[in-house]
């Protein structure tokens, strides 16, 4: 599904506004997990890398395959590592209340 330039710009602008409004509300308490989570989400770039590495190319196929494969490795490590560490951090945040001995 192809997008024209103007539509792309609209999408970008609206997403940026949503981003500002949503992220402004994140408590400073959670700014480190915020950064690791957005990092993992940003690694959605992996979808571009998958298509690059897997698609048929008339010329430049080897280049596309090599660069695409390295790009998938880099992005996947961000997805896996990013989600893992974010969840690990968030598990540590406990409210006071029933105190353990």
């Amino acid at each position: 599904m192809k997008l024209d330039l103007l539509t792309s710009l609209y999408v970008f602008m609206l997403a940026a506004f949503i981003g500002f409004e949503v992220i402004r509300r994140v408590s400073p308490l959670l700014h480190t997990p915020l950064m690791s989570l957005t990092n993992a989400l940003d690694a959605i770039a992996v979808v571009g890398a998958i298509i690059l590495a897997g698609e048929y190319h008339e010329h430049g196929a080897l280049l596309a395959k090599i660069l695409g494969t390295i790009a998938i490795v880099a992005a996947t490590s961000n997805i896996v590592g990013g989600f893992l560490i974010t969840d690990r951090m968030l598990r540590m945040f406990k409210a006071s209340g029933p105190k353990k001995p």
Binding site: M1, G19, A45, A53, L67, T76, N78, M92
Partner: protein, 461 residues
């Protein structure tokens, strides 16, 4: 095309889940649900992409996905003290992915690249490659593989901005003449050098700002990649990440009293260069032993602990938890006051203290805690310096004048755990230490806090 529709639907769901993911992250109560939403979104998008009929070969994709997972797991298991360098490293990986895809896309499409496409492609690879080396440098400095001391020289900004200017000019030529393919390596290579040069003048205390800024660049480069690939999902994810990095950068630069333009051009780290040349202090300070400190703390009703990076360096957070427990058991109200730039990345102190099992509702940020200092009996500063310096409020000649600080000097008694009388990162004298109400507790943070805890346990009053 039914599969194409299925793919588009997975992308649409992924987009919604990503936005919900960040929305749920706003409070600790719902934050883990946010991670889960992000994971589901990611899984859907990747699975949808794998259905794409244009993919003719899966072998390398599968190998790469497995390899990435194998690398990613240990990166998710690092110690909490190593989170800043891990974050910098993951910015580098994200930027690497974007740069490689951009490079391949150029060579697949050239010389038939329309001007707008070439412009966003240039932005993608310029931002991507400078973020790649910049983040690697930042990770190296944080991991202490590279010297942490800022390295500055005359004309540094001129050289750096010149490099960036040349890269942008070359990109401009490529927009007009995409057939000049031999120019393309320059818009990858020059920003790679720029990324290194940009981080050279950065010291440890500037890292929170730098990491946020690199986060923002990584997001913007991914959004640019979305324009190139005409992927709404990628544009949105990149815009969200870019916005997040931007907000954090603005927060950090405000907390350090730097103008945002100063930060944007990577010119931070320079203002402090001349700051060390202050008049030598000759006033005397009062120091105290762990016994005396324990006595004062035991007599208090309300204690605010102000942790800084020094606490993390000394690995004192678990001892601080023991102190928190010992004081709370005596009915003393203990809170933590956290400056936005304490530590090496935004929110770093909160994560370290949460790891030590200190309840998060006791961790208050600067604006929340500052009103409470006048009613505080003891402010205990552990490994923080400049963020408590009252000169930032009162002395217009101070290099940090105007920087928002934690008003610990308004507490009845101030205790500062510090190795020696050496100045902070900026080499600025801290008049706090010479106040009559201030007691200096000289020693290693971990040992000193441990000694106070033993005193509190032993000498039941």
């Amino acid at each position: 095309m039914p599969t194409e529709n299925i793919i588009e639907i997975t992308y649409l769901l992924a987009t919604a889940l990503f936005i919900l993911s960040l929305k749920w992250l706003s409070t600790p109560a719902t934050a883990r649900r946010g991670v889960f939403a992000g994971e589901i979104g990611m899984l859907l998008a990747v699975a949808g992409t794998l259905l794409y009929h244009g993919i003719v070969e899966y072998k390398w994709i599968v190998i790469a996905l497995v390899l990435g997972t194998i690398i990613g797991i240990p990166l998710g298991e690092v110690a909490m003290t190593a989170v800043p360098q891990r974050t910098a490293l993951s910015h580098a990986f994200g930027a690497l992915c974007v740069t490689l895809v951009g490079t391949a896309e150029f060579y697949l499409r050239a010389p038939n690249v329309p001007p707008f496409m070439m412009a966003v492609l240039s932005m993608e690879v310029i931002l991507g490659s400078l973020t790649f080396t910049g983040s690697l440098m930042a990770a190296g400095k944080l991991q202490e593989i590279l010297p942490q001391r800022p390295i500055t020289y005359k004309g540094q900004n001129f050289v750096n901005l010149g490099l960036l200017g040349v890269a942008i000019a070359v990109a401009g030529v490529l927009v007009a003449h995409p057939e000049k393919m031999q120019l393309f390596p320059a818009i990858v290579g020059i920003p790679l050098v720029f990324g290194v040069m940009m981080i050279i003048p950065i010291g440890g205390a500037d890292m929170p700002t730098v990491i946020s800024l690199l986060n923002s660049y990584a997001g913007l480069s991914a959004a640019a990649m979305g324009f190139v690939l005409q992927s709404k999902l990628l544009i949105i994810a990149g815009a969200l990440d870019g916005a997040s990095g931007f907000i954090l950068s603005v927060n950090m630069s405000k907390a350090m009293n730097r103008s945002f333009t100063n930060v944007l051009f990577g010119a931070f780290g320079q203002e402090q260069a001349g700051a060390a040349a202050g008049a030598k202090e000759t006033r005397s300070v009062r120091s105290a032993s762990p016994e005396e400190a324990a006595g004062i703390l035991a007599a208090a009703n309300k204690v605010v602990v102000v942790p800084g990076y020094g606490m993390a360096v000394a690995q004192a957070q678990h001892k601080v938890r023991e102190l928190y427990d010992a004081l709370t058991k005596r009915g003393i109200d203990v809170k933590f006051g956290i400056h936005p730039v304490a530590g090496r990345m935004p929110g770093h102190m909160n994560v370290l203290l949460a790891e030590a099992d200190i309840p998060y509702d006791k961790l208050l940020d600067m604006d929340e805690i500052n009103g409470e200092f006048p009613q505080t009996d003891v402010a205990l500063v552990i490994g923080a310096n400049d963020v408590t310096n009252p000169a930032a409020r009162s002395d217009p000649s101070s290099p940090i004048y105007g920087m928002p600080i934690l008003d610990v000097d308004k507490a009845r008694t101030v205790m500062v755990i510090k190795r020696s009388m050496g100045a902070g990162f900026a080499g600025i004298e801290n008049p706090l230490y010479y106040l009559d109400k201030t007691l200096m507790l000289f020693g290693d943070a971990k040992n000193f806090v441990g000694a106070i805890v033993r005193e509190l346990a032993g000498g039941h009053e």
